[in-house]
């Protein structure tokens, strides 16, 4: 069974994401991406990091949190991950380094880059998804669950 949880939550979730990105684009021409928000948070702590667009990026990040909060509040579906803390920490370090070296993440390259039919985004996405599938399966085979 490749879709044990059905398709509707993914279809509706994906549509909302596409609508959110389109709403911002139609009114402002801005193309959404999340990984550069990490720079903007760091720019609040250190002036070595770029403050470029940081007002918008921090609003973007607050919106993402508010939207997820609203859904979780009304469905009372609060959760805490049981993924091991070392995986979150080490994984996070790789995610921060890799997305900012590669100039994008799941939203920047994965949605907006592919939606722009960008060759570099297609290549980036194929590589990160393949490497992530291999990594997640190695971790599973090693018996680290979840």
């Amino acid at each position: 069974m490749l879709l044990p949880n059905g398709i509707w939550n993914y279809l509706i979730g994906g549509a909302l994401i596409g609508i959110g990105i389109s709403f911002i684009y139609i009114l402002t021409g801005f193309i959404t991406g999340a990984s550069s928000n990490i720079d903007s948070i760091l720019s609040l702590i250190s002036n070595k990091f770029s403050k470029k667009h940081s007002k918008y990026r921090i609003l973007l990040l607050m919106g993402l949190m508010l939207g997820a909060f609203i859904y979780t509040f009304f469905t009372n579906s609060w959760t805490q991950t049981s993924v091991a803390y070392w995986r979150l920490l080490i994984g996070g370090i790789f995610v921060g380094f890799g997305t900012r070296l590669g100039r994008g993440c799941t939203s920047g390259h994965g949605i907006c880059g592919i939606a722009s039919l960008s060759k570099s985004s297609f290549i980036n996405v194929i590589i990160f998804v393949t490497v992530a599938i291999i990594t997640a399966n190695i971790v599973k085979i090693l018996g680290v669950i979840p």
Partner: protein, 140 residues
């Protein structure tokens, strides 16, 4: 002020979508990566289709965005080796943690506070990138 509000509202809709689909849970992402539930492909496909149609028609319309008067562009960076190396490193991190930047931030709104550890990790990662490239990266 309208620009700020637009970004905030759009991001809020985006955040509802992330929580609705469960992508804010690392377990759901890992279940996709371990090929147990391929639903994230449907999520990505739907989001790409809607954004792609919007980008395509507006970028071909020659019009300008009403709030910024900037021409509608697309997102297309020149391919270089860092886009490839970055993808490999990101893939290792995503496969290990099940967390990517957008879903990670949204996850905090669902009360998933252990994800703060991953956000902290991302801040360390970007700092390491900055130091190891002598400030050349991250690019804006």
């Amino acid at each position: 002020m309208k620009k700020e509000l637009t970004v905030f509202i759009g991001a809020t809709i985006f955040g509802v979508g992330l929580a609705y689909s469960g992508m804010t849970k690392p377990e759901v992402v890992l279940s996709f990566l371990q090929l147990n539930d391929l639903g994230l492909l449907i999520l990505m496909g739907t989001a790409v289709l809607i954004s792609g149609l919007t980008f395509f028609f507006l970028s071909h319309s020659g019009k300008k965005a009403p709030l910024t008067h900037q021409k509608y562009g697309i997102r297309n960076y020149p391919l270089d080796k860092n886009i490839v190396i970055g993808a490999i490193i990101f893939g290792i991190g995503w496969g290990l943690s099940g967390i990517c930047p957008g879903a990670g931030f949204a996850s905090l709104g669902t009360g998933n506070f252990p994800v703060l550890i991953a956000i902290f990790g991302m801040m360390i990662g970007v700092t390491l990138l900055k130091v190891s490239t002598k400030g050349k990266y991250p690019l804006n």
